[in-house]
Symmetry: C2
Subunit: 365 residues, 2 copies
């Protein structure tokens, strides 16, 4: 009944205490050998390390360390909906990359958390997982709920492009001004008839030509701001909403706007590069040349796969930079510092998809 059959000692993994004892040092000394937080005599270190290797001790258990230190080295990033959907958007991906970058310096990893309405029972939540901080992306419906949960725990949070509450630092973009800049570019080229393909207006993601009423009711912040920017210059632009940010959606929207040769615009402004790529395809499909017959602008400045040889005229948003800023903000928050919200600025980039409108009617196919 004792010894063998019980086998407790044999099965148990070695702890730092075991190593310390076997090496004939105190646990604190052994701890320091692994953390390097205080000077240790070389001979001592070697002895401890040797014993550790012998005992198969692979270093301090992060679970125990995180309890003691009060830090887990994990930062949660909350995304809306399925990963598949979230990561379809290259901007999100780039941002995530920036976040991991910004956090790596801190030694923290990124934990992906979904913010579905239909969460699986037992799924990990902000409350169930040991996170040091939280980055919330986008304006999820759950945002405020999440923020409350997080605040109750005293976990610092940063919101990227969403309506944060009191005292939560935001990372934002000058969506309106950037869009206006693109519009002014087209105006400068001489365009009068300019239409817009927008991101979704709201959760319904309704597609199609939008009435003034629908436009007035846009709830997605990014969509509204970018549209407002365009309308500073072209208040009468026709507006078609897409069902998402993708090439195929852009193609559908582009077809709608290019349907009738009579009131065809000389330029189409898309609210994302992906949508712009789709618009270009819709134009080419009708035999229109870009930019000679139709100028097209995008938004984001991401690398769009499938754009072929075109270089999109667009505004480049610092997506990775936004992520990094979020990471950095988290770092400062964890250091107990005050953090201000930041607004990032887009940079105009002229490509090969815009030029002066051809005079008279565009050469219809």
């Amino acid at each position: 009944m004792t010894g063998m059959s019980q086998g407790r000692d044999a099965a148990r993994r070695a702890t730092i205490a075991d190593v310390a004892q076997a090496a004939g040092v105190s646990p604190s000394t052994a701890s320091v050998v692994f953390s390097g937080k205080a000077p240790v005599a070389d001979s001592t270190r070697e002895r401890v390390l040797a014993v550790a290797a012998e005992l198969g001790y692979a270093g301090p258990d992060p679970r125990a360390a995180s309890l003691r230190r009060g830090r887990s080295g994990i930062v949660a990033v909350v995304l809306e909906g399925h990963l598949r959907t979230a990561f379809l958007d290259p901007v999100t991906t780039a941002m995530m990359d920036g976040v991991t970058d910004g956090l790596a310096g801190l030694g923290a990893g990124v934990l992906l958390l979904r913010d579905d309405t239909d969460a699986v029972a037992g799924a990990p939540t902000l409350a169930s997982v040991p996170v040091d901080a939280v980055v919330l992306i986008g304006c999820s419906g759950r945002l405020h709920e999440d923020l409350d949960a997080v605040r109750a725990r005293g976990v610092p949070a940063v919101v990227i492009e969403g309506d944060a509450g009191e005292g939560v630092p935001r990372i934002d973009l000058d969506n309106r001004e950037a869009a206006a800049q693109l519009a002014r570019h087209l105006r400068g080229l001489g365009h009068e008839r300019v239409d817009v393909v927008t991101l979704p207006f709201d959760a319904s993601r309704l597609r199609g030509l939008a009435s003034p009423e629908r436009i007035a009711a846009i709830t997605v912040d990014v969509t509204r701001k970018r549209l407002d920017g365009v309308r500073e210059e072209y208040p009468d632009a026709r507006v078609v909403s897409a069902g998402g940010s993708s090439i195929d959606e852009g193609m559908i929207a582009g077809r709608t706007l290019l349907e009738q040769a009579e009131d065809r615009p000389t330029a189409i402004m898309a609210q994302s590069d992906l949508l712009a790529a789709g618009v270009i395809r819709a134009a080419e499909e009708r035999g229109l040349r870009v930019p000679e017959d139709l100028s097209v602008t995008g938004f984001d400045g991401v690398v769009v796969d499938g754009l072929g040889d075109h270089v999109l005229t667009t505004v480049v948003q610092p997506a990775v930079g936004k992520g990094r800023a979020a990471g950095a903000a988290v770092a400062r928050l964890l250091a107990g510092e005050q953090v201000e919200s930041i607004v990032f600025t887009c940079r105009f980039r002229e490509g090969t998809t815009t030029c002066a409108p051809s005079h008279g009617r565009a050469s219809a196919p």
Copy 2:
């Protein structure tokens, strides 16, 4: 110096012990109220909850819970290279989605870990972060190193499409057979001249027409298997390697194969749907109609953005399923069960991009 300025008691967050004491119950009872792992009298529960709310106690600290339970509820997923790159591939994204799905049932979250050669100093590692298990994706150079680190800690691991070591369950795909199936489809349609666009051969990602020597030296498992499958049927196919899995890469490769009208193939088999989409664009760019003048097949069966109205003839791999399987495998591993490796099977899907070759020379533009 005392009281106010010190403020220890005031600043400290309430613990479950504080709640228990204030509610006049024992810590264990309070614990059970939150975990629900044992019956508690309604009146007791309510009292505890009320006190908790009053004290601003938001539930047990996951850090402490994870030490005590020996589980953190976190599973690391190790990806190769930058997230930007990894998530550019829709298959990876879908797989990740499956992993989160499979793990959600377990109540575990997904921690993203990069496996760069050039890791930032202080970046989180498998050793520094409290993970219950690890999922390794792809055949990174670091794979074996990672596996050793993980094994030393007694952390269970699963490998998706990579060369796992002893006793590590793998999640695999019938790459060779699926490719062969596509080849047989083309043979059945009557194609004799079939060429191939492959994924990268190795870390160098060299582009272009491949010599037999280069082909013999392919190190990427997936590339080799899919190519072997094709060569069962078409041993003399010309092979062009792409620099990655993307539409633009497919377009470049497609141009290479379609350059000379004289020895143009009647069908091109691409090793991914993205590459296939690029090949189609390269064909259309030359005025070739798909499938009349050129049949094109893909691999993966993912939704390709920017494919327009074509439906790709391809083999559908259960990417989400693979991820789920990895999640499930992890769950069983954590339950102490033995887990076998699994090989997933692709399903052939006939689309609109293949048909019998047109007789005589294809209508050259």
